[in-house]
């Protein structure tokens, strides 16, 4: 199967520092791939490179088989992006934020569709017409997730998507991510949440100082072994 997202020997520099070094991985449709790493490992850099917001120093980035640098517009059209601690417009309501960003993406929608997406992320109906300035961090994140859902794209790029969510919301979100993948979407998620990654991902790539230093695949039954991933993340051998 053709990978929806591919990074081939990808190296990226930011402020003259090499942030990603010769990284290669792919994400197939229906698959959740988690890039796991600590602060400064290069996780977000990988996402921004897929979005064409950063230019590779070397290597290739492909979205649905086409080089991002050759057709950035096409790549963005099929990609929804959920930034870390997404800050939508605080002076607008949830409905207004969603309508605004969907209009930017030229995605046709109506209020009923907005409400369905907000139902899906469990945002209270009475809050939807209030300004985001009055929302908690978790509520704002839910609106951003609803936006990613409403884009209805075959590829989702999630940057620390559960940051700021409470444990129940995290479980709900992980369930949602799994159901989206089951709808044949390719999902690339970057996170430092080992437990969340193991719960939801089909494969995990471990990034350390810009290099892909390990990988884990979900077994045919069950989940990726959290303990093993945690040990690798912490740089110690598994007992």
């Amino acid at each position: 199967m053709t990978a929806a997202l591919e990074a081939i020997n990808l190296s990226v520099e930011r402020s003259k520092q090499t942030v990603l070094k010769d990284v290669t991985f792919g994400v197939a449709p229906g698959e959740v791939y988690a890039l796991l790493g600590g602060n400064g490992a290069g996780k977000s850099t990988a996402l921004l490179t897929f979005l064409g917001l950063l230019t590779p120093k070397s290597g290739t980035i492909r979205v649905q088989g086409r080089s991002v640098s050759d057709d950035l517009t096409a790549a963005r059209r099929v990609t929804a992006y959920l930034p870390e601690a997404a800050t939508l417009y605080e002076h607008l309501s949830a409905h207004e934020n969603l309508a605004y960003f969907l209009s930017l993406a030229k995605a046709a929608t109506d209020r009923a569709a907005l409400d369905r997406a907000l139902d899906r992320v469990a945002l209270q109906p009475e809050a939807r017409d209030k300004r985001l300035g009055s929302y908690s961090k978790g509520m704002r994140q839910k609106v951003a997730i609803a936006l990613a859902l409403l884009r209805d794209t075959p590829i989702l790029l999630l940057d620390e998507p559960t940051s700021g969510l409470d444990p129940i919301a995290i479980d709900e979100f992980n369930t949602l991510v799994r159901s989206l993948a089951d709808d044949d979407r390719a999902i690339l998620m970057v996170t430092h949440d080992v437990y969340g990654a193991c719960q939801v991902a089909d494969r995990i790539g471990l990034l350390r100082k810009g290099e892909l230093v390990g990988g884990f695949d979900r077994p045919a039954e069950g989940r990726i072994d959290t303990e093993a991933v945690h040990a690798a993340f912490a740089g110690r051998a598994v007992a």
Binding site: L53, T73, A80, Y81, A86, H91, Y100, F101, S103, L104
Partner: protein, 413 residues
């Protein structure tokens, strides 16, 4: 939400932008109201003076008709430069240069320049008129509206989301900025057009002023866009842009003025007045021939009547008034030519300062620039020459004052 209306709607929901636009509207509104009031006051002054001048001339004419010398000596003549309908937008030189004189048939140059005095309140920044708002305040408001267009989004973590979500990110920033520029132009121009229709300024002038303002805003938009291409913070952007505003709007005009003044010397109006008055005062102590000779050279048609028989004759008196003007003439010509050359050089150099260029353009449209001020001085000189041409022949020939002749006395129109 359509792409076209989206950014307009977004602007409408931006409280800070609305506050700045409201400030722009209030500033433009106040400026045109002040301008209309000032022009109305100037017109009222002219009408009041015209009425008073007619009454006074009738009284003095009746009281001093024993000879032409007395009739000329005691009669004042009002001259004025009535403001154009569009002058409310740019008061220009009307603050610094006189727009009304009460002149007599004495030496003229002193009368023209006796009110020359720069108003220190207005010398630096000018009056609060529409030209000032458009040239100085509008760029500041535009800077406030645009300086953090991208940097603000970066700081709040939305920039990547906006770029990644937008089907055409360049159009997003372009349309977001364009609506702000357009909205600012709208709030500035609406008061101008309303005031223009109230005052009776023609559509061509209003259109010309609107185009000049739009060109000015486009210049500042380009400047701000250049700064915004850097990935600086909003604070750095704002500081840089305020620095550029200071350079273009304050430092450059001051440097241009200083450079032009240094490059082209122009006699002071006070020097002209002093030269003329000293010449007139000295004439009392000089032999009468010393006055009549240069006078006759200028007026050969008066030669047959130039002999002075007594210790005082009006024709000698008026001759040394005229000779006073003749002695001051080189200075006066240098003054007029110098001011015109300074104006021409400043006009070229103000391309370096778009705010100054805009002010000049609006003052030209309003006929309140240096050219208009010099033209008014020339009109006063022409009128004074008419007075001399009217009074000299009967005065020198010793003819009696008649009602028929008085009815033909020139009036300034």
């Amino acid at each position: 939400m359509s792409g076209f209306g989206r950014e307009l709607w977004f602007l409408w929901r931006d409280r800070a932008a609305k506050v700045w636009l409201l400030i722009g509207f209030a500033a433009a509104g106040l400026a045109v109201v002040f301008g209309l009031m000032e022009i109305a006051a100037q017109r009222e002054t002219i009408e009041r003076l015209k009425t008073a001048d007619e009454i006074e001339r009738a009284v003095t004419t009746e009281a001093h008709r024993e000879d032409w010398g007395s009739a000329a000596y005691y009669t004042f003549h009002l001259s004025y430069d009535a403001p154009e309908a569009f002058a409310f937008a740019a008061l220009g030189q009307r603050d610094a240069s006189p727009w009304k004189h009460r002149i007599r048939m004495l030496a003229l140059e002193g009368q023209i320049h006796e009110t020359d005095a720069a108003n220190p309140d207005f010398a630096l920044i000018g009056r609060f008129d529409f030209a000032f708002v458009a040239a100085m305040i509008a760029p500041l408001i535009l800077i406030m509206l645009l300086h953090d267009l991208r940097s603000g989004e970066r700081a709040s973590g939305r920039y990547n989301l906006l770029s990644a979500t937008s089907a055409d990110a360049r159009m997003l920033w372009l349309s977001r900025a364009a609506w702000r520029v357009g909205a600012l132009a709208f709030v500035l121009l609406v008061p101008l057009w309303i005031a223009g229709f109230v005052s009776g300024a023609g559509a061509p002038k209003l259109l010309g002023a609107s185009l000049a303002l739009l060109a000015h805003l486009l210049f500042w938009w380009a400047v701000i866009a250049c700064v915004n291409t850097r990935t600086w913070t909003s604070t750095v952007n704002l500081t840089t842009l305020i620095g550029l505003w200071l350079a273009f709007a304050v430092v450059a005009p001051a440097a241009i003025k200083a450079g032009v003044d240094a490059a082209i010397e122009v006699p002071e109006g006070g020097d002209i007045m002093l030269t003329q008055r000293e010449a007139v005062n000295d004439a009392w102590d000089l032999p009468q021939e010393a006055t009549m000779k240069p006078f006759v050279e200028r007026h050969p048609d008066m030669a047959p009547y130039a002999a002075i028989e007594g210790t005082f004759e009006w024709k000698w008196y008026y001759a040394f008034q005229q000779v006073g003007d003749q002695i001051a003439e080189p200075l006066s010509i240098a003054y007029r030519e110098g001011r015109a050359r300074r104006d021409a050089l400043a006009s070229r150099l103000t391309w370096l300062s778009p705010p100054a260029k805009l002010e000049r353009a609006l003052q030209r449209l309003a006929s309140t620039d240096a050219t208009a001020a010099l033209q008014y001085e020339d009109e006063v000189r022409a009128f004074h020459a008419e007075l001399r041409a009217y009074f000299y022949p009967p005065m020198f020939r010793g003819e009696p004052v008649t009602d028929a002749m008085l009815a033909e006395r020139p009036n300034f129109e």
